[in-house]
Subunit: 347 residues, 2 copies
């Protein structure tokens, strides 16, 4: 692809995401507004529709990538995206349920440039609001008369269980010795934590288009592989940063001793830099100089190059799955643009 193609695709994806936000937000908000008072307040804050004091806020509810995948997958397979709106909202609710709980578990104090829900309302309210969003997602599907809704609900539930397994594995890996973690374990964890929901979003779109089983699975594969590519890029940002675009400070994942994919690739590289990095990970890494040394060690050990190559490989696999589900390139265009958009993050 030429850089002009990429720029066009980027604009297309950005426009698609904006349209999706416009389509999904009213339904998402209507669903959230049905929650009981105190829980609703936390949810409205989390989605960026209210400030902590309850006054209206501009809304920074994320980029709507998952609902856009649901709708684009339905459209790509000849379905009516409007009929899949509830599924799109359900997937976005599940995504936000995971954010609320993951922020509690990881003790992350900032999300989308604002204090996280637990930091504002306390851990109990954040746990409870996450629970309520998960239940709300299943209520929407259970009330949806669409013939695919029960299969979508079962698939979404399976996905939640995989997300839970991913988050659990993430926590468990954090506690292990830096040199005792394999790259395979990390890839499995990242697939569960990030790939599963992007795959599920695409699969739900396919189910709502009443596609056959192979197409549903190919769509899942597309979303999963694109999700893993996205995670690899996100991990690179977690080391080399990009505060203006993501709100994540440079070296944040290193300072937090996160065993992200490029870090584990470096640790398991068998290079002298791997030992240096392991020593830094066993220590406190509390100074900017130590964090900078760790980033340099990841680079010298080949972690940066590996992550970039692996992201490209995963995108190739994603495209392969997509051509299986949607042989017509024009039909696959929206989904491709979305996948490129999330993995490049340069638009």
């Amino acid at each position: 692809m030429t850089s002009t193609d990429a720029a066009t695709e980027g604009r297309e994806a950005a426009a698609l995401l904006e349209r999706t936000r416009g389509l999904v937000d009213p339904h998402l908000r209507a669903a959230v507004e049905t929650l009981p008072g105190a829980i609703r307040r936390v949810a409205l804050y989390h989605f960026g529709w209210q400030d902590a004091d309850g006054s209206p806020a501009s809304g920074q509810a994320g980029k709507a990538i998952r609902p856009a995948l649901v709708l684009a997958a339905a459209r790509a397979l000849g379905g009516d995206p409007d009929a899949a709106l509830r599924a799109a909202v359900a997937v976005e609710l599940v995504h936000n349920f995971t954010l609320l709980h993951d922020d509690v578990i990881d003790e992350d104090a900032t999300r989308r440039h604002r204090p996280t829900a637990w930091a504002v309302f306390g851990v109990p309210d954040a746990i409870i609001t996450g629970d309520a969003l998960l239940a709300l997602a299943h209520r929407l599907l259970a009330e949806d008369p669409h013939p695919a809704s029960a299969r979508a609900s079962a698939r979404l539930a399976d996905c939640v269980i995989e997300l839970c397994a991913g988050q659990q594995a993430d926590c468990a890996l954090e506690e292990r010795d830096p040199l005792g973690v394999t790259l395979d374990e990390c890839l499995t964890m990242a697939t569960a934590k990030t790939g599963a929901l992007l795959g599920c979003a695409c699969a739900l779109g396919a189910l709502y288009a009443e596609a056959d089983r192979p197409a549903v699975e190919a769509m899942d594969g597309f979303g999963r592989e694109a999700g893993l590519a996205f995670q690899l890029i996100d991990d690179l940002i977690g080391v080399w940063g990009d505060t203006t675009r993501t709100g994540k400070p440079v070296g944040a994942d290193l300072a937090a001793h996160k065993k992200s994919l490029p870090v584990v690739a470096a640790l398991t590289s068998g290079t002298p830099a791997a030992g240096e990095l392991a020593a830094l990970y066993r220590g406190s890494m509390s100074t900017p100089a130590e964090v900078a040394s760790a980033a340099a060690a990841v680079d010298r050990a080949g972690g940066r190059d590996w992550a970039q190559a692996c992201a490209a490989d995963r995108m190739a696999r994603a495209v392969h799955h997509l051509s299986g589900a949607v042989p017509d390139p024009a039909g696959a265009q929206e989904l491709l643009a979305l996948a490129e958009f999330v993995t490049r993050r340069t638009h």
Copy 2:
């Protein structure tokens, strides 16, 4: 009812609960066994099927009251209880999801005479395992070909949201000044936290019996009112204790400054004992003597009598709902026995 009737009913209920445990446990355990490794381990521990080290344990998975209500409600309305087994398992999974999260939120270290899951495996694993049990409940219903399964899933999701609201209100009430809490607020909270799931269990049984809407709602009302009666008795035990049967030490709720129903009835009684109790609640209440004074103050302020009378009143309302749904006394017998069993707790 004579005491002989009560004793017969108690034996009947105990036998019914044992039969239910025998029916539901294999399905419940099979569902739990489908969870990914690390989460499964926490769940097997929580249900009492494994010790913390993974060795088999005798199993103390609770009294199966909620699944018994599902099956008995289905039978009472002419349905096939076997067809409602998945619904019974789903309700039990939801109940245990709330236990896992409530123990984290309330920082309770003991449940069913064993350390709670978070105390053994840590807060993240307990949150994640609770999430997975909730998703598993919805997966079971989504995969259930029974014509009522979608309505059951929607109703269960609504119930989860009400449970969340109840738990949230409980936390919020704990932080308020002892004299600033009204009895109405506490009754609403207790209905949401305890009544909702017992009501939902009965309603799901009715849905699976393909009962009409008024019967479903009457069944919900029966379970809700019986649940509130149960909570009132539980609160009395929380003040005056019954360690051998419940594992709850005498005065536990007082020492924890819990604003349980008899306590709030006492605090809002306008008696001199109310002021004495409020003063104790504003202090640390760290000595056994202070806890004993608080219990005596609740009694003198009329909190104990009120809770006993209110429990009887709620049971009468429950019976009234039940006769609406099941006019034939023989058909209602099992449900009545279960309600009496949980509220008396003397068997």
